[in-house]
Symmetry: C2
Subunit: 349 residues, 2 copies
Amino acid sequence: MTVTLADVAARAQVSPATVSRVLNGNYPVAASTRERVLRAVDELDYVLNGPASSLAAATSDLVGILVNDIADPFFGIMASAIQAEIGGTGGGRAGGERLAVVCNTGGSPERELTYLTLLQRQRAAAVVLTGGAVEDAPHAAAVAAKLRKLTEAGTRVVLCGRPQAAGTGAVALTFDNRGGARRLTEHLLGLGHRRLGYIAGPEERTTTRHRLEGHREALAAAGVEEDPRWTVYGHYDRRSGYEATLELLRREPGLTGIVAANDSVALGACAALRESGLRIPEDVSVAGFDDLPFSIDAVPSLTTVRLPLADAGARAGRIAMGREEPPPGDIATVRGELMVRGSSGTPRA
Amino acid sequence: MTVTLADVAARAQVSPATVSRVLNGNYPVAASTRERVLRAVDELDYVLNGPASSLAAATSDLVGILVNDIADPFFGIMASAIQAEIGGTGGGRAGGERLAVVCNTGGSPERELTYLTLLQRQRAAAVVLTGGAVEDAPHAAAVAAKLRKLTEAGTRVVLCGRPQAAGTGAVALTFDNRGGARRLTEHLLGLGHRRLGYIAGPEERTTTRHRLEGHREALAAAGVEEDPRWTVYGHYDRRSGYEATLELLRREPGLTGIVAANDSVALGACAALRESGLRIPEDVSVAGFDDLPFSIDAVPSLTTVRLPLADAGARAGRIAMGREEPPPGDIATVRGELMVRGSSGTPRA
DNA sequence: CTGTTAGCGCCTTCAG
DNA sequence: CTGAAGGCGCTAACAG
């Protein structure tokens, strides 16, 4: 029915072992033999049986990339860069190619674990986890245990934009969310703002916490009193920014600036301000985080912190493939760059 | 070293076959036995060997989703909906779960074929291809051949937002790009526009062609003469819209409207217009396509055609899982809805 | 309901 | 450089 390696061998008049060797290219094979085999492969339209090959070799060519939200370009950009480093290589015929594959957890801890188990089951060659982690203790422990098991089984684990999971054998490229947030708020304070609203992400995420901490560091350093009612938690999406902004305005109409957990949230905030008849930045300044492509097209364009998502992703991909040395101590911090644009200005009198 | 099914069987004092049966849940097993086995699984921290299981069963639990650009929310939204229908089910312990996985072709025909081969090699249970196809004849034939082979091997193939590939056994949910584009241009013509620039996507894509054809149908039906110099080809991104708009303004400063291949392109167009000192829509109207989440936040908000990406993706996912009947004739057309917003208005005198 | 028996298709020592 | 042989871990008939 389906053509197997043995069929190819028969047609090329060699042993199955030889066919395997030319396909994997790990062993010396005479050029003429190789050519004969390759011809037979083409003629028979042979496709290697992945499961069989993985079973026998005890490894697979699958690489998993976990993202929290595949519809969010923040993850899309990273995933794209990672995949380009992994799946883009080779282009060869039967062997060599890796199947780089992205899995969408939707931010759900259960699905995260499920995907990790599924990848473990497939004996994935590597796994890259992107974006913030959930801080719930039992879940964090479960993930850490899973990661340890993966690395022990020879799967390379890389964290990209995520804090190191100590003792798991993973390599981490973490984003300096705290520092970026601090510089951003410093910028606003420098302009003269003193009443700043903060729209945070989901409460239990590392990214959320670190950005908020950076914001508060800046406030504390400047000796600015902070009203706890000026911080609202939500999600990393536009709608959350919209609703949170209306809520903040209700609580404190005198706010002169709004710092958002990310750019999408900031866009929603802008919409809410506009609908409330407030001008940006004359009445209220707005700032985002990430510098996604659409942020420069906002009107006015968005002051934000640029994270080198594509660079970090590419590096994570290379490390996952063993084509780049992991950083010393298996951890590197990636800084963000403050982008001052039209959405931030001096506060109104 | 690694714990196998046999280990579990030994510990639970049953045969390997029984363990397999409780894990797959396809066979009657006494409740007490099942429990014993499950306990052994937990105690041993056993994880099924995917390749071995796929080899023996001649099927795998892998489902591939191909996208042209994972960093583009157009694809992200569809992929997310598809994956939710496929990977979200079950949540059970060892068995049942499917590994829904997205592959980024980056719009490259070679990578598309590579990924299809890789999925074929893994004996994927289903494959969903999203978005426009490349019209290059040899490549289209190669893809069709590959799809036919996949369906023949029992892999379910679903096309989502992509024209049917005749004779391949695939199920297609196509978007009515032509009709949507026609209604959009009709709207602009109805406002009084007669000099409309068009910024198309890459020339060899079906989506590009269909949207452009719809635009031209509307022009022809209204008896509006069309200058070929008012159409510019580019890519489906912001930058392309920016540059193409500058080019169009150079060629014809008297344009009163710009129709863009999609929303990202439209945003770039808006930026270029603004920098050129033109107001939207007073001086120039702008229209996009897709109605991505950010489009409503543009200033002014974007007139566009909404495609039900999430609905279509969910349906494609269900069909891929065999949980929904394919449409009659294995093909269904999904309409877009015209969204009239602030970026389109009556042309200047 | 459960155990026994054969492979699934390939890789990888071992010889030659 | 190439062939022969064994087994990777699991599932799927068969019997019981």
